[in-house]
Amino acid sequence: MIVTLLSLGFLIFILVYLFFAGAIIYHLRAYTLPGWTMGKIGVVVFILFSILLFVFASYAFLQMYASGI
């Protein structure tokens, strides 16, 4: 039961995160002029850190499952 709730919560968090992340990245790609490089760098850095933290969160989630929560 707890695992189901946590899985659902994690999934909802991912969906909400992806929605807002997508909105931010869309704005940066749509509303920057060609010579503005910081926007592109910002997007790359954001995506890299997001992937890193999602991997960490997924690992922690699986550890919870493995520890019998």
Binding site: A21, H27, S50, F56
Partner: protein
């Protein structure tokens, strides 16, 4: 995003001074420290928690979600700052203001309508770091146009006046 006329060129792009990001940066840094403080002081405040099962995976999971939230929060603040720009071209001044994530206001007026340009620098930090407000008044009874907390004010003023006078002939 913006379409330039055939002869039109961008002469200056202005964003707010980096100082305006110091406050939000401190906020994000403070929020980053909160879990660490909780981890240090929780055993002192609630020592009974130490004996309850294996709570470390839960804490790691919660911490990772918190970091993701903080990352997105910080990125949204930076994007809001980055997308607030004033673009001075040879023919017009364009004010692009990102108000939150799903609201954007774009204003522009022809540079030949400029009647008066004034600069206001208020405060110790603004004086030392040389940024402030640039007000552009236009002809025809339209509201004035304010560029807030902008750096390189004098250069911007000179450019606006130069191109407005050029347009007048």
């Amino acid at each position: 995003m913006i379409t330039l006329e055939p002869e039109e060129q961008i002469v200056k792009v202005m964003r707010r001074h980096w100082w305006v990001m110091v406050g939000p940066s401190f906020l994000v840094f403070f929020l980053l420290l909160v879990p660490s403080v909780i981890a240090v002081f929780m055993p002192l405040i609630a020592p009974q928690l130490q004996g309850i099962g294996n709570w470390q995976p839960i804490a790691q999971f919660a911490f990772s979600l918190y970091l993701l939230f903080l990352l997105e929060f910080a990125f949204a603040i930076w994007t809001n700052y980055y997308l607030d720009v004033w673009i001075i071209t040879t023919e017009r001044i364009i004010d692009i203001e990102q108000k939150g994530l799903f609201r954007r206001v774009i204003s522009e007026f022809p540079i030949n309508r400029v009647q008066n340009v004034s600069i206001e620098v208020r405060g110790v930090i603004e004086t030392l770091l040389k940024f402030g407000d640039l007000t552009v008044e236009t002809a025809g009874g339209h509201a004035s146009f304010v560029i807030k907390e902008a750096p390189d004010l004098y250069r911007a003023k000179d450019l606006i006046l130069h191109y407005s006078q050029q347009e007048h002939g």
